[in-house]
């Protein structure tokens, strides 16, 4: 039974086609970045931006941002007590999403059946919907490149992308809600600071139903701390769902396995029938 549930979990997450990193790397990602001023100064692009271009992987957990034990459960179906309680959330100090009471209630049934969800509780990522912000950075390999006046982030999974203009222009009107949001960036020394608005309410932060409303704003900080490492912090604000802003921290490690190119991954085209078979299987 446990094995079956485990397989179902694998199917669900496998639908998002997630790569597995080793448990040690996952544990390391749970530690908060030091916060000390980075000594590393990146080279400059031709238009004077700090150059952070390349293909990166997040180091951390995509399964449950509040509790890394679920990562080891997902990877080898055995509990790892050492991972218990570690979280990507560095603020508040308890590492938990500060849900308002109604929101905490809403999450419970989804949380309870995350390993074998009924269709209405299936992770939107498993449906191949765009991952949203910040989840698209906490999933698989992505590429950063910096054409003049912009930072562009391309994800291999779901071929989603974000264009981050650096021109100080205003966000698009509030009525426009976007899966990947509307990003505006600026360089603060060597750190890229991005304000993300216009997000819809259809994305989660992980497999475990962590959710937000369309009032969410995300303020991101990408700080290169070495030639191959970026520290990332996202401050999440959403007065409809949380009691206070909260902060998620990740590290991105340069990935040289893919050479210079990401490949096409047509998630929806490949996934539709697989999901149907799983969700409509006999006994459901």
């Amino acid at each position: 039974m446990a094995d079956q549930r485990g397989r179902a979990a694998l199917l669900v997450v496998g639908a998002t086609a997630v790569a597995l990193w080793c448990a040690a790397a996952a544990a390391a990602g749970g530690q908060a970045p030091s916060g000390a001023a980075p000594a590393y100064t990146p080279p400059r692009t031709s238009d004077g931006q700090p150059d952070i271009q390349g293909i990166y992987n997040p180091i951390g957990t995509f399964y449950n941002i509040q509790d890394l034990e679920f990562q080891s459960l997902y990877q080898d179906f055995t509990p790892n007590p050492a991972g218990r309680g570690r979280s990507l959330i560095v603020d508040p100090p308890d590492g938990k999403i500060p849900y308002q009471p109604w929101a905490a209630e809403k999450v419970k049934p989804i949380y309870a059946q995350h390993a074998d969800p009924t269709p209405q509780y299936l992770d939107p990522n498993a449906r191949c919907f765009p991952q949203g912000v910040p989840r698209h950075l906490n999933n698989r390999e992505f590429e950063i490149f910096q054409p003049r006046g912009h930072v562009v982030v391309l994800n291999m999974a779901h071929h989603t992308y974000r264009v981050i203009p650096l021109d100080g222009s205003p966000h698009v009107p509030d009525d426009i809600k976007l899966w990947m949001g509307d990003s505006r960036g600026r360089w603060d020394g060597n750190a890229l600071v991005v304000d993300v608005g216009n997000l819809n309410d259809q994305t989660w932060f992980d497999v475990m139903a962590s959710f937000h409303s369309d009032a969410m704003r995300v303020t991101e900080r990408f700080t290169p701390v070495s030639a191959d490492t970026i520290e990332y912090r996202a401050v999440i604000t959403d007065p409809k769902v949380y009691t206070r802003p909260w902060t998620l921290a990740l590290r991105f490690q340069r990935n040289t396995e893919y050479g210079a190119e990401l490949y096409e991954e047509a998630c929806f085209e490949a996934n539709e029938r697989a999901l149907e078979n799983m969700l409509r299987r006999p006994g459901r």
């Binding site: 209405q120 054409p147 190119e261």
Partner: protein
């Protein structure tokens, strides 16, 4: 309906087309390496997504002169029959109705904008339609192997001021339009992007597929720079619409 509305908007919003082939190449914006700078937000204004050949108006379909040179597609006889069958079944059979990635060249004339970013090593085309992405790596070989990608594999080079893109490694699951024009996985597309001023690119593509066509054939149309103040590529997540009451996404 929305398509027609878009088209009307396009007619208003786009730059006025050049009156003649008075190519003012000196006025082309250029990158530091001297190559034409194709950066910006572009869109075609043809009716080709309905039918790449000449067609009369139908309800919710504007008439169009088509984009095929000579208006003739040289199908093998079996393929001409297949095309007619596709057209008859298009409501269910057109991959666009399934929200699949539309392939090349179809993505280039769908009624949605796309943004070009350009560096000396590669050119990225990021499309509003289903977040489709094309990467055009410059002066590099196609990867080996039996690869079938929805958007193919694109490799570019400059021929003077014209960007030439060679595209292979397709699936046989995309069409050219809603009229059932189709190809096999042996499709080979050679695109030419010739800037004809700061705000227009003449796009031309040679279509080769010996399994389906008796000889290569060519399409061409202009790409127009979107000129609206504050223009952005937004999102059209086709497959996320209208799913609330299907098995795929039932209400909570």
């Amino acid at each position: 309906m929305t398509g027609r509305l878009l088209l009307t908007l396009c007619a208003v919003a786009f730059a006025v087309a050049p009156r003649a082939a008075t190519a003012q190449t000196a006025a082309l914006p250029r990158l530091a390496d001297g190559k034409p700078d194709l950066s910006g937000i572009w869109q075609a204004a043809t009716t080709a997504n309905w039918n790449i050949q000449a067609h009369p108006a139908e309800k919710d379909v504007p008439a169009g002169l088509g984009i095929v040179e000579g208006d003739e597609i040289p199908y093998h006889p079996w393929a001409a029959a297949q095309k007619r069958q596709n057209q008859a079944n298009r409501a269910a059979a057109d991959p666009e109705t399934k929200c699949h990635l539309p392939g090349v060249p179809r993505i280039m004339y769908m009624p949605y904008p796309f943004q070009i970013f350009q560096t000396p090593n590669h050119i990225a085309m990021l499309f509003e339609y289903v977040h489709a992405v094309r990467r055009v790596f410059m002066d590099s070989p196609h990867p080996d192997g039996e690869i079938e990608w929805w958007m193919g594999d694109s490799r570019g080079r400059w021929d003077g001021d014209t960007l030439v893109v060679d595209v292979v490694h397709f699936t046989d699951r995309t069409w050219f339009d809603r009229a059932g024009n189709f190809h096999s996985e042996a499709l080979h597309v050679v695109e030419r992007y010739a800037p004809i001023g700061a705000h227009h690119i003449q796009y031309e593509a040679t279509i080769e597929d010996p399994k389906v066509f008796a000889r290569p054939w060519t399409i061409s149309f202009p790409l127009y720079r979107r000129m609206e103040k504050g223009i952005r590529v937004l999102e059209y997540e086709c497959y996320a619409f209208g799913l609330e009451h299907t098995w795929y996404r039932p209400p909570e």
